[in-house]
Amino acid sequence: MLTKILPNSSEFVQKRPILSPSDGQFLIAKPLFLSILNYLRKRYYPGAGRIGHAKVGSTVSVFDRAYDDTVRVLDEDGEVVGDVPDLDDESLVEMYRHMRLARHFDGRAVSLQRQGRMGTYPPLSGQEGAQIGSAYALDDDDWMVPSYREHGAALVHGLPLKQTLLYWMGHEDGNNAPPDVNVFPVAVPIASQVPHATGAAWASKLRGEDDAFVCYFGDGATSEGDFHEGVNFAGVFDTPTVFFCNNNQWAISVPRERQTRSATLAQKAEAYGIDGVQVDGMDPLAVYSVTAAALEKARDPDADRPRPTLIEAVQYRFGAHTTADDPTVYRDDDEVERWKRKDPIDRLESYLRAEGLLDDERVAEVESSVEAQVADAIDAAESMARPDPRELFEHAYAELPPELERQYEEFAALRDERGDAAFLED
């Protein structure tokens, strides 16, 4: 039985008093048969101490919910329906600003590609809530292991926009993050970064450090062997890893239902003995809360609780998979419109306006500041000259083998003789 038995559905994220079996364990709003099943499991396996994932006597947390019991803080209109995380006003507005920044960057990037000023680019619009919300939960020392669409998350964690632009403009330097920014290089092959995140977190654990690691990937990635192997290792070696699945419903043209017969992706955690939770990925505050709780659990292990967590952030990509595909071929406009009504930016904005933290004037300020910031980043990226061909060879090895030196010298001599134009297609 995959469905976890829940205590009170409003009990999550914020640390609440411990629920004892008498006051909360059986107060579940789930169908009766689950209660009975749960009771029987508890009765006949008392030593296990678990009901679903709810450890009797432990802090009742976000992880003790049914896999399909989606965590929400803001509804589609920005009304509060859950526990608002403990963030100060400035952070909330800053989170909003970052989401606007990511959205604006995205639009400009697509336009640069259309104008031939950038190569293929994977848009993120619609996914700002998941990206910015989760990245806000990281400490600076924590590590981010992204796929290839996490421009917004990486930005929050310190990766300059210029780096992201350079990468998609075909410059290797784009993957060379500043040394104090704990972001792994972009991983294009699907799910291939998942074992890396487990291994990196494992290294931290083996060295007695307390950094946590968040690994991003999509719904399609959960079909790959690397996902299962990476998450399984995390379970076995109890690594401080948060697996953050951006379920945006589509792997290019293949819908989420074609990836797995499982009702949720969160429930895949069950098979590996780790915690799994589904969150509304277009609700930045819910995403923040869930990720913060998962990171805390990763870092500060309760010996009876698995350190790794699988978070399924349910969301939608408003645009194409990349600038190379046309989503109108494979999905309906109605569906897109339905999801657009859940726009994470609108939701947070409504909430912040209601709280008196935003008004028209402040929104206008945010708009103009993000426009300027993106324009500056584009100028900086576009001012990069074409790299010298020596760069092809420079980082292949710590020390260039003589044969590669020879290959370079031969090429350099020919380039001197013929000029650059003989080699460039443009």
Partner: protein
């Protein structure tokens, strides 16, 4: 006179799939985005509508799953044509390719055979993202039990694909995406085959034999024309199949000229050029008048696109390589 259509290479691939799907109910096309979306390069456009979701199958995103289930289907006598969206994503399925696809016949002493064709676009030059541009045909040529085919024209793409699908053994069919839409050619509407394992002479010449395949055929021919104006006549041989190699054609062209250059965009070390050079040493040493040249990608990871023009063998580098062989 058969009717023809003026097709690009990728349209010819689509036409070849269409013909084989129509001719044989055991043929199925499977992969990511091959169905409703018609393939990321449109290589399967319209096939889902015509043949339905049981024969043109969108799969989960899992290369090992795609290739491994195709092995199972083929073992049961079907003729699956799995597509991996870019050859750079074949590696999760590499275990299936080298542990099973290549070995099923041998391991079962012929009881099970795998009449499957694994298609993938490959090669560089289209300003694609990371891992979308590599040429790793040598991996597969190195693996006994596989055939490795690389078409370079629309006509041959359709005919070689049909031959691959009908072949009793597994074929890796690598499509040079740089020339997917580079030019058109008259392609017969009727099904036909172009034989696997036979090279084609693209240009005749007495001074030097230049061996190449796939997307490099065009810059090689361009270099040959330029040199032709200077009185250097190149015999350009398009291998078309890189495993098994057409030893006879390779040796014949070399014996005619006594000089040879091999051009491929894959890295030099361990590449097909080394194999061709070895064949010439074995079979035609006494004809040799100059060192055999290799014009290839460098032995470095394939770069992001800002540097890829420097990486790929250009006509200038090919000319230089040919001149070296001729002027030795």
């Amino acid at each position: 006179m058969t009717d023809t259509q003026n097709l690009t290479l990728v349209q010819a691939v689509r036409d070849g799939l269409h013909s084989e799907l129509r001719a044989d109910d055991d043929v199925v096309v499977m992969g990511q985005d091959v169905g409703k979306n018609g393939g990321v390069f449109r290589a399967t456009e319209g096939l889902y509508d015509e043949f339905g979701g049981d024969r043109v199958i969108d799969t989960p995103l899992a290369e090992s799953g795609i290739i491994g289930t195709a092995v199972g289907m083929a073992a049961m006598g079907m003729r699956p044509v799995p597509e991996i969206q870019f050859s750079g994503f074949m590696y999760p399925g590499f275990d299936q390719i080298v542990s099973h696809m290549s070995r099923f016949r041998t391991r079962s002493r012929g009881r099970f055979t795998l009449p499957m064709t694994l298609r993938a676009p490959y090669g560089g030059g289209i300003r694609a993202p990371e891992h979308h541009s590599e040429s790793k045909e040598a991996f597969y040529a190195h693996e006994a039990g596989l055939k490795v085919v690389v078409p370079s024209t629309p006509y041959e793409a359709k005919g070689l694909l049909a031959a691959s699908i009908r072949d009793p053994d597994p074929v890796i069919f690598l499509e040079p995406k740089l020339i997917y839409r580079a030019f058109r050619e008259q392609v017969p509407e009727e099904p036909y085959t172009v034989p696997i394992g036979e090279a084609a002479t693209r240009r005749e010449g007495d001074d030097v034999a230049v061996f190449t395949y796939g997307a490099m055929t065009r810059p090689t021919l361009e270099a040959a024309e330029t040199l032709g104006e200077e009185g250097i006549e190149c015999e350009v041989v398009d291998l078309r199949t890189v495993s098994p190699l057409d030893r006879e054609a390779i040796v014949e062209a070399f014996e005619k000229t006594g000089r040879a250059v091999v051009v491929h965009e894959a890295p030099k070390t361990g590449g097909l050029a080394g194999e061709i050079t070895a064949i010439l040493q074995e079979e035609a040493l006494l004809y040799q008048e100059a060192p055999i040249g290799r014009v290839t990608g460098f032995d470095v990871p394939y770069p992001l696109y800002a540097l890829e023009d420097y990486y790929l063998p250009s006509a200038a580098r090919i000319e230089e390589g040919i001149l070296k062989a001729v002027e030795f």
